[in-house]
């Protein structure tokens, strides 16, 4: 198979009109490489060297100092405070019913899984806690608090 059609340096791929003006290569010294390619030996640009160094320092620092996200998050949600804000309107912490039943000894009435389902989905008239704008952490805090009653 002849390689006549593959003389890279003579093909006019840059200028489709056939104009083949020779330009100064942008690198200092150029060697003939394989497959007709010329390979320059430009130095690594300074901005890249700085990048390499910064990344190396960062990698070391991260390796030494990073901690999981849930350890840096703001203090754990306070179940009692959330309960007072979002639940106390309908539920008392004694066995006295208000709009909803009193929650004393609720942990005897429901298992943890059942409580979780009720808090996440709501039950009867009671809205689900996510619908009240509470997130997973906060719901867990409320559940933990309610179980202590």
């Amino acid at each position: 198979m002849s390689r006549d059609d593959e003389k890279i340096n003579e093909s006019s791929t840059v200028e489709p009109d056939g104009e083949t003006k020779e330009e100064e290569p942008p690198v200092h010294s150029v060697v003939e490489g394989s497959g007709g390619f010329r390979i320059g030996n430009a130095k690594v640009p300074p901005f890249l060297i700085v990048t390499y160094l910064v990344l190396a320092i960062w990698a070391f620092g991260y390796g030494m100092m990073a901690v999981p996200l849930n350890q840096t998050a703001e203090t754990a949600a306070d179940g009692e405070a959330i309960f007072e804000q979002s639940c106390l309107g309908c539920h008392s912490i004694t066995d006295e019913p208000k709009v909803g039943p009193g929650l004393e000894d609720v942990h005897l009435k429901y298992t943890e899984e059942e409580l979780q389902l009720i808090l996440v989905n709501g039950i009867g008239e009671m809205p689900s806690l996510p619908a009240l704008g509470l997130n997973t952490e906060q719901i867990k805090a409320v559940k933990d608090y309610v179980q202590t009653l």
Binding site: P16, S34, Y62
Partner: protein, 465 residues
């Protein structure tokens, strides 16, 4: 090496792969569009047997496998079979085996697509095909690697050009990754299983599609610009750092998940250090382009190549950032991710494959491309589609991520959040249409080139006879 008869087409193996890749591209893009329409109308195509065969959970892996292994892998292997002999100044070794693997690979993709459509899946992302197909894949890839390495071993050129390093690396890595990635669904369970799934899932992109694509960029760029490659040293740095850091990318997919802290760090640090190979490659690309930027305005394959390289840069600016704990806690599981995943696979490396096929398929056929105008249309439609897709999914992803943090993970709030994403899904579908049309323009253009070339060669044979 037996000398092949001069009448035989030396490009036959390459052609089998490239022609087939066009077919799978068409099919894969159609599946992609159906998927994007299902985001808008969840009941789209939900009647009769289609309800089963075109349900989201089945066609999503069908789409990814078709475009990854049908289109891009076949286009890549076709390119390897053309470029490697050119860089070695010899003929492809074992041409018959090479051509045979092309046919086997088509059977594999077909069988995989049928299996997924019937509901057989391993649930490993990008490795959903059943185990018996995986065995065929390994054998096929081993044969492809044998052909490529034998060609390189018998080369008439002393020096190994950069592209060849990337190609040789990719061929070894893909086989290793594929074996490791496809076994754990039988052998492991729980978190270790998913660690290996993600080792495979991320590295099949990074150590096959990326490295073959970068190798092709290194081949196409000096070819199209007629400039020497900017820096030998930069290509060395780029190659060895991607080889070192990429395999550690898997654990960042389980970031903030149930894995130990040291493993999280072992995933995050190399992900961020990937900035080194990416910026080194890009510095080499722009260095090589020096003084030839004007050529971009008229040379459409060069446009594809450079825009592809820029998309690669953008993807790899996102990647390290995603892998960090904070950003990961927002965007994980959202629509941001498909936007990020389409950027390297469609935006960067499909663009490189488009560029390669526009330049070298007509050369293999000793003819000219059917239409330069259609090529321009393909370029602008594909770029528009990619931008629309990326920005719609990224915006939707950020909104979804913060909505979930605010508590919209459950019940009605989740549904409301989903409904409010409809405008973004609509833009995504429009992007899908643009990308589909662009691909069909590409396929039509090359099909017409092939048909015209075959007609000409037949005429020549008649007149010669």
């Amino acid at each position: 090496m037996p000398s092949p008869s001069t009448k035989k087409d030396p490009y036959l193996p390459s052609k089998i792969y490239l022609y087939s890749s066009l077919f799978w591209l068409a099919l894969g893009m159609i599946y992609g569009l159906i998927l994007s329409l299902k985001f808008l109308w969840p009941n789209f195509l939900a009647f009769g047997p289609f309800q089963v065969f075109f349900q989201y959970g089945r066609i999503r892996p069908v789409h990814t496998n078709l475009v990854l292994f049908g289109w891009l892998t076949m286009a890549n292997i076709g390119a390897l079979f053309y470029v490697i002999p050119k860089l070695c100044r010899n003929q492809l070794s074992f041409e018959k085996i090479a051509a045979g693997t092309g046919i086997v690979w088509n059977i594999i993709v077909l069988a995989g697509t049928v299996a997924l459509t019937m509901g057989f899946t391993t649930t490993t992302e990008y490795a959903e095909w059943p185990l018996w197909i995986d065995v065929l894949v390994i054998l096929g890839m081993a044969a492809v690697a044998l052909v490529c390495f034998a060609t390189i071993a018998t080369r008439k050129e002393k020096q190994l050009y950069v592209s060849l390093w990337y190609f040789m690396g990719s061929l070894i890595w893909l086989i290793g990754l594929y074996i490791i990635g496809n076994l754990p669904y039988k052998l492991l369970s729980g978190v270790p299983q998913f660690l290996i799934f993600w080792f495979y899932g991320h590295n099949v992109i990074g150590l096959w599609f990326t490295t073959v694509g970068v190798g092709l960029i290194y081949y196409l760029l000096p070819y199209l610009t007629r400039n020497p490659l900017y820096s030998h040293k930069l290509s060395l740095i780029g190659f060895w750092t991607i080889a070192t850091f990429y395999v550690w990318n898997g654990p960042h997919h389980l970031q903030n998940g149930p894995i130990p802290l040291w493993l999280m760090k072992a995933g995050v640090i190399p992900s961020v250090l990937l900035i080194i190979p990416v910026w080194s490659v890009l510095a080499n690309v722009f260095g090589t382009l020096k003084g030839k930027w004007h050529a971009l305005s008229r040379n459409t394959p060069l446009k594809f190549l450079i825009v592809g390289a820029v998309f690669y840069l953008v993807t790899c600016l996102q990647g390290p950032f995603h892998s960090l704990q904070g950003p990961s806690s927002v965007i994980k599981f959202t629509d941001w991710v498909p936007g990020h995943a389409h950027l390297p696979l469609f935006g960067a490396f499909s663009f490189v494959a488009f560029s390669f096929m526009y330049v070298f398929l007509p050369k293999m056929l000793k003819t000219k491309l059917y239409s330069n105008k259609l090529m321009e249309w393909h370029f602008y439609l594909a770029v528009t589609g990619m931008f629309l897709f990326a920005f719609s999914t990224w915006s939707a992803g950020v909104l979804e991520g913060f909505a979930w943090i605010e508590g919209a993970q459950y019940g009605m709030q989740f549904v409301e959040m989903l409904i409010s994403m409809r405008p973004f899904f609509a833009i995504r579908a429009v992007a899908g249409v643009a990308m589909l049309i662009s691909s069909f323009v590409f396929i039509y253009n090359l099909a017409m080139t092939i048909i015209k070339a075959n007609r000409n060669s037949q005429n020549e044979e008649i007149s010669a006879g």
